[in-house]
């Protein structure tokens, strides 16, 4: 009785009231900027004044700007090479962690460790390791007799992109590993025993049992880390700064340079909108691969 008297609002209205503060906040710092960036993308701001120019920014980006396509390709390379190797290593480490019987807790903590390192710091660590004159990697490789002369890892004429993406991989292995390990732990052990009795080898067991049951975890972990790799700014900005030349410039650095170095805000806004569309397409691509029942 008492409770009903106090309830002026219906349950649904009350629920909406609870999310209202977040909604207003988000409207201010996400929805409004999204609309604003879309409007800016149709404008030209040469000479400090914004003038409406319709789709001209988009037209010049897509048809007259070879840099856009080159940097887009670099972004794709970064995502594919970086997340590709992070996934392979993450899977192998997760399988190993799931196999051992002793020191499980401590092993998991150590395997997670790199996740805790801020991305910028990871990038600076590797910048120091890969340093051409005083770096540890060159020293170790020369001691081992693999290299004769120090290699300038971060200013190679080709292949710097590959090295950059591998530094990204180092930072995202732990996340993928955690998700895959959680997935592996849901697979009942009996399945493997039955398969062993039936004479299945390790590789067969992986193919018949592990891989199909792990599929949802694989797809979600790869999707999330791919989306995050695509937007990563701090690693490329500190590790190579887009260099040598323009060989590691990507869409993120292009937006940054356009907006804050060349101060062409309209053009940069159009690039931003294209980046959102590409991110959405990436999500869409993964979601269509994942059967809907796996999502819940």
């Amino acid at each position: 009785m008492k409770t009903n008297k106090k309830q002026i609002l219906k349950d649904g209205q009350f629920g909406f009231l609870l999310i209202l503060p977040s909604l207003l906040l988000l409207a201010m710092i996400v929805i409004f900027p999204v609309i604003h960036v879309c409007i800016l993308s149709f404008m030209n701001d040469a000479g400090g004044k914004f003038v409406w120019i319709g789709f001209r920014n988009y037209k010049s980006i897509l048809f007259d700007d070879p840099k856009f396509w080159a940097y887009f390709l670099n972004s794709i390379k970064y995502v594919v090479f970086g997340i590709g190797s992070a996934f392979i290593v993450g899977l192998i480490v997760a399988l190993s962690l799931n196999t051992i019987t002793r020191f499980k807790g401590i092993s998991r903590t150590i395997a997670l460790w790199a996740w805790a390192v801020p991305p910028v710091i990871a990038s600076l660590m590797w910048k120091w390791l890969l340093n051409d004159t005083n770096g540890a990697l060159n020293y170790l490789l020369m001691q081992a007799g693999i290299l004769k002369n120090p290699v300038p890892w971060l200013s190679l004429p080709t292949g710097t992109m590959l090295i950059l993406s591998q530094v990204h991989a180092w930072t995202s292995i732990p996340f993928i590993m955690v998700i895959l390990l959680a997935g592996l732990q849901t697979i009942p052990a009996d399945l493997y025993e039955v398969a062993s009795i039936d004479g299945a080898g390790s590789l067969q067991k992986f193919k018949i049992i592990t891989f199909p049951l792990l599929r949802p975890s694989i797809l979600t972990s790869v999707m999330i880390s791919a989306i995050f790799a695509f937007r990563t700014f701090d690693i490329v900005f500190t590790l190579t700064g887009g260099g040598p030349g323009e060989s590691t410039e990507m869409l993120v650095t292009y937006v940054y340079n356009m907006a804050f170095v060349f101060v062409r805000l309209g053009y940069a806004a159009a690039l931003s909108v294209l980046m959102v569309i590409i991110s959405m397409l990436m999500v869409f691509l993964f979601v269509t691969i994942i059967p809907t029942k796996d999502l819940s």
Binding site: G15, P33, Y139, T220
Partner: protein, 281 residues
């Protein structure tokens, strides 16, 4: 038959141990290397023959960065921004997640996806309008601006994963509380919130660390020591003409400290946060 199975098991275990040892070296060596570099003297850093254990370990680099650079300021800024953003995510996010999880209203599902979609936007794509907005609000180069942008980046994540934590708490418990005379708000604060605390803790830790590590918006919206954080502060070293690697290393270690503490003591929460965030992501 049994012996053969056991032998196969031992072999795969041995392989797993070898894989893990190799991975641990690969995982930990860069961190170890930056740590020993932070303890080295200039002479020991700039030799062609690096030492793996510092010959004359010293805390001089830490002292130098705190006395010759505004590192004290960066440290307090980072702490304030991380705590402020996490608090605002808890204040806004916990009740919103509860509202989404418990009450049916028009647009419940649609709004959930709007929140989720805002996390799909690459932060760089909103940097121009947010840069302009922060300018209009006269908040450029302030800690408040940093807290606002970090809330934008983490609130959707926070709400999204806490919806699933509230979903696991049976509705009957808060209904029972309401029959006992609690208002809906009281039943949230006294019953649901404490029960959801492990989930709130997990998402708060991830939000805290994510904010602590933020780089792009701090670089652009906080160009002077007034609002600069440790991530951007550490990257300043490589912009110098002569890069002081051992001082940079000391700055890097300082920036890593909270995350290392969390990984050691709250690993379970981090794993919960990461997995539940992605299962429904």
């Amino acid at each position: 038959m049994k012996i053969r199975l056991n032998r196969a098991k031992t072999r795969s275990k041995a392989a797993a141990v070898i894989v893990l040892i190799v991975y641990f070296v690969f995982n930990l060596f860069p961190i170890y290397w930056i740590f020993v570099t932070s303890l080295k003297t200039d002479a020991e850093v700039y030799t062609p023959q690096p030492t793996f254990i510092p010959k004359h370990p010293t805390l001089e680099n830490y002292k130098t960065i705190y006395t010759t650079r505004p590192y004290m300021r960066y440290t307090t800024n980072t702490i304030l921004i991380a705590i402020g953003s996490t608090m605002s995510c808890i204040a806004f996010g916990a009740i919103a997640a509860y509202g989404f999880s418990r009450f049916k209203f028009a647009g419940n599902k649609g709004l959930r996806y709007i929140f989720l979609a805002s996390r799909v936007f690459p932060p760089i794509s909103l940097i121009i309008p947010i840069f302009m907005m922060i300018g209009w609000l006269k908040l450029y180069d302030t800690i408040i601006a940093q807290i606002i942008v970090n809330t934008y980046m983490w609130l959707p994540f926070f709400i999204w994963i806490n919806i699933s934590f509230f979903d696991t708490i049976p509705k009957e418990i808060d209904q029972a509380a309401q029959i006992d005379g609690c208002t809906r708000m009281q039943s949230f604060f006294r019953i649901a919130f404490p029960l959801a605390l492990p989930g709130i803790a997990a998402s708060s830790i991830i939000t805290f660390l994510g904010t602590w590590n933020e780089f792009l918006y701090n670089l652009i919206l906080g160009p002077t020591p007034r609002a600069k954080n440790l991530s951007v502060g550490a990257s300043d070293f490589i912009a110098d003409m002569f890069v002081s690697w051992n001082q940079m290393a000391a700055g890097a270690i300082i920036a890593c400290i909270p995350a290392f503490i969390f990984v050691i003591f709250f690993q379970r929460y981090i794993v919960t946060g990461l997995t539940s965030g992605s299962v429904k992501g």
